[in-house]
Symmetry: C2
Subunit: 230 residues, 2 copies
């Protein structure tokens, strides 16, 4: 069985015809743009239209939505993980955390689909695999920041995930009006995250555990939308 798609370790099966390659690119561009705005579930017909090709062409090049998502978000997710690694490598733990939060929020707000990939359990396996590296790294990042003494001692990875979620939330809502307004709330949250000499308000609630977070992003089911993606 000769796979039409290049299997791993398999040289390019055959270069696409020039026009076909151009169309492939148009599709990727359009999908990237539309999904960033509307999310992973963007109708394929809209994408084809935006790319200026027929729906048939899209299906020929990307037989399933997962193929498209994979081609699109491999890099973006990798960049996200790379940020995380950079942050972990920063000398000052607190600075690293702040830098990461800022970058991650910017990325997620600029790209709704990326947000969905990170927060929910979606996407083809190739991508899942990348996302699995996130949690351990994030854990280390938080630990470093705590060790620096500037982060509240009771702050956890779970908290980090939810802070990101909150930032993505404000961003989604404010960005049409002011694309940078979310930074205001980043500073607000950071102020809350700082350890303080003066007794900080005790956080009576226990931090969510990692195990709990697994279930956290099931996303409440919307109306007539059967889970259409991946």
């Amino acid at each position: 069985m000769v796979s039409k798609h290049q299997g791993p370790g398999n040289a390019v099966a055959r270069p696409l015809r020039r026009d076909a390659e151009a169309n492939r690119q148009h599709i990727l561009d359009a999908a990237g743009r539309l999904m960033a705005e509307r999310g992973l579930a963007t109708p394929l017909e809209d994408i084809a239209a935006a790319a200026g090709v027929g729906i048939g062409t899209l299906y020929r090049r990307f037989p399933t939505r997962a193929d498209l998502v994979e081609a699109l978000f491999q890099d973006r997710l990798a960049a996200y993980v790379a940020d995380l690694e950079t942050a972990v490598g920063t000398d000052d733990g607190w600075e690293g955390l702040v830098w990461f939060l800022s970058r991650a929020a910017a990325r997620q707000i600029a790209d709704r689909a990326l947000s969905e990939l990170i927060e929910q359990d979606l996407g083809p396996d190739t991508i899942r695999h990348l996302r699995d590296r996130v949690l351990p790294l994030a854990d280390t990042l938080v630990e470093h920041a705590r060790a620096s003494g500037r982060l509240r001692a009771d702050f956890t990875v779970g908290d980090l995930a939810l802070v990101q979620h909150m930032l993505a939330g404000v961003g989604a809502v404010t960005s049409p009006v002011s694309p940078t307004a979310w930074r205001r709330y980043l500073t607000l949250l950071l102020d809350g995250m700082l350890a303080r000499r003066e007794a900080p308000t005790p956080a009576e609630e226990p931090a969510p555990t990692v195990a709990q977070l697994k279930h956290v992003h099931d996303q409440r089911p919307r109306q007539g939308a059967r889970p259409r993606c991946c």
Copy 2:
């Protein structure tokens, strides 16, 4: 033309038959429960089924979704506004703000439909009218809190709305796991909102204006969901 529904200043047109009245009640109960969980756009057929009546019965009693929403949320919204008034009446401005935030978040997290009514521009006119009282009251509340000296001087009503939005967001995501976890993030946010002797991190971003907030909650269109509600 004699309206079948009691017009304003019109005595009850005619009491419903006993069985009909009971069914009406069942419908309201079911709708309240389901909409709290799934939002204003919950399919009417689901509601009828949960109420144990036929879809025809639901339509006879509430010809439009707006009629149902009105019957359901008049009280709940009024209670929300009442909270706001109570908070404004509190002596200590900061305490009032904290109390309100806590109550509002609890209400919104417990009732997704209520959240939608408050944040978005939905609902029948009867309800809109109530919601219009929110902004001025909230404005006063924030002013009082600032006057008390405990709230950051640069905090605005717009900020309040977005803080509520963030809390609703965490709540939505955490409540299936821990129904009170959101309180942890309330304390985090409150810490960030406190004025401080030690120079607070300057919020470089300007606060969103009230005019901007009008557009803020247009809520990005989800997938195949034409705006079905109201």
